[in-house]
Symmetry: C2
Subunit: 341 residues, 2 copies
């Protein structure tokens, strides 16, 4: 029996089109069963335009409200019938095996923590993002924004959860786990990372020590642990550079006729290039440590990104990642004599 | 009378060649007077290969030791006759108006703080890096690694110093100053940034509020304030992405004949592109807040980077940036009723 994934139909910038088409593709190519969560009448009308939709396992669950990217905390709390909240309730009630949204990240994280709660032994759920490396592998950065002002033991748990996620979804047997800092030696970093280093080196993981910002993309480490503030800055700075590079390349390539011809000829290369740097292949970021499966993808997600997020959410559920997290974290504190500070 | 700049002749990865050639170019094109600091015999021999050198204002100051990139704190302290220490002493003694090194950043910062000391009213000197934006302007990030575990008032001082540096060296009349955080509203961020926000908004600066990692490259803000740990992660992550992009582009462009032709035709565009993203144009990072002028450039600095660092260090000295910092910071605490926490 394939997993049932609840999909926030109203999350992305161009919702519900990428969501509906992504759901159709996931159902068609991966045999996924999808619950589209959003305004029923609108979704029914949109879905009816796709002739093949009827034969696929796609149903609609009504949600009357939509959380926007600009909604503040109060607005998010007040919208008790939002597609995010209804979708997460489906997971809590066991009607869905996982939830996917391209909507407001802050709202999705807060609502998931509230509706699903945390797994036993998890103090703070963390958002894990995957990105490409020069070796054409993926690296996972955790946390990228769920927690600011972390304690060392939070980072310890992020390491364990990131390791499990990497093994289960990316198939890395013994992930190399690094701590994001500003210098390789144990003594380098800030107070938080220096304390966290002492905890991480006692974990039954392949801990490779401190790594620096530039190591994120070198492919020498599979899981990188950071507090949510620092992880978010690293991720967003990277997006900024990627945008800068695109803008500058576009401009310089357009500026003469010869170059235009050159650009035309190398067009396919750029499309390959774009694909290799494309985050949408990875299926979004799971909120690790909540009691349920919750994936958050970029607001600019297209059909492909949504399709992949549904696929990966199903793999996450079927791979029993949460059960492994609960078991390994519980075993960790039972067995290992971990120095606290 | 042009400024005298002491240059660590042994700092860069390929020292002393880029240093000697950079010094020659700075002397030739900008009328700079340079003191090359390093092993006298070696530098004399190298310099004698350049026929025009004699007519330029370049002198050698002997330093028998060299700090390597791998030297630990103890080694750095022990090398009392290192080119970094001798160069900074020339500044302290008034024999040079500024110091430039492409060597070990940590060693340069620590030695500068020790040899030069801090300006009055400056609690912690901070390293300021400039980088390119999509609008072809420069943005300054301060601090990029001199201080981890900052207090809110440190960030306040970084803002004031960054603002002055931006006005003096980049000619921006009223720089837009932002605080690096993970969300735009005042309430977003970690404990440090939330407290720093309250201080920054009372400063007599053009404070534009919180900015995110991706805003570093958008050109909508001129000075971005962060604690040294976060700033360093942002900078290094950006370098990592840039390297990833180069690697992927190179690989994809090489993979077919058509693409090779295309790449050949668009070659000039790439060289423009490289130049626009080239940090070496900015002349390195000043350690703001020390009693003297100290610029640190990348270990991979080439002749052009060294030349520009010498030029900018001279501008920094001639622009009386330090006097302005001391005056404005003193005035700030005398006049403005700043809420402490």
């Amino acid at each position: 029996m394939p997993s049932v994934i609840a999909l926030d139909a109203m999350g992305s910038d161009k919702a519900p089109k990428p969501e509906i088409e992504g759901a159709l593709q996931a159902a068609r190519h991966h045999g996924a069963r999808v619950l589209l969560v959003g305004p029923e009448a609108q979704l029914k009308a949109e879905l009816s335009r796709y002739p093949g939709a009827r034969r696929l396992e796609i149903d609609i669950v009504h949600a009357s409200e939509v959380i926007t990217m600009d909604d503040k905390v109060e607005a998010i709390r007040a919208k008790r019938d939002s597609s995010i909240r209804i979708g997460l309730r489906l997971v809590r009630e066991g009607r869905a095996d996982g939830f996917v949204t391209a909507g407001n990240t802050g709202a999705a994280m807060a609502t998931a923590r509230m509706v699903l709660g945390s797994l036993p032994s998890v103090d703070r759920p963390a958002l894990a993002a995957a990105f490409p490396t020069v070796l054409n592998t993926a690296a996972i950065l955790v946390d990228v924004g769920a927690n600011v002002d972390c304690e060392p033991h939070n980072l310890e748990q992020f390491a364990v959860m990131g390791d499990i996620y990497c093994r289960a979804i990316f198939g890395v047997k013994r992930p190399r786990v690094g701590l994001l800092s500003i210098g390789e030696e144990e003594s380098k970093g800030n107070e938080l990372t220096r304390k966290a280093f002492k905890l991480l080196k006692h974990l039954p993981l392949n801990f490779v020590g401190n790594v620096e910002g530039r190591d994120l993309y070198l492919g020498q480490v599979d899981v990188i642990v950071a507090d949510g503030f620092v992880g978010n800055v690293a991720l967003k700075s990277s997006e900024g550079v990627a945008r800068l590079v695109r803008a500058v390349l576009k401009e310089t390539l357009k500026s003469t006729i010869t170059r235009q011809v050159g650009a035309l000829l190398s067009r396919n290369a750029f499309s390959d290039f774009k694909k290799r740097l494309d985050h949408t292949e990875y299926g979004g970021a799971p909120l690790l440590g909540v009691k349920g499966v919750c994936f958050i993808t970029h607001g600019s997600s297209n059909t492909n990104a949504i399709k992949n997020a549904i696929r990966v959410a199903a793999e996450f559920a079927e791979g029993h990642v949460n059960e492994t997290i609960a078991r390994e974290l519980a075993g960790l504190h039972a067995k290992t004599p971990v120095p606290t500070h």
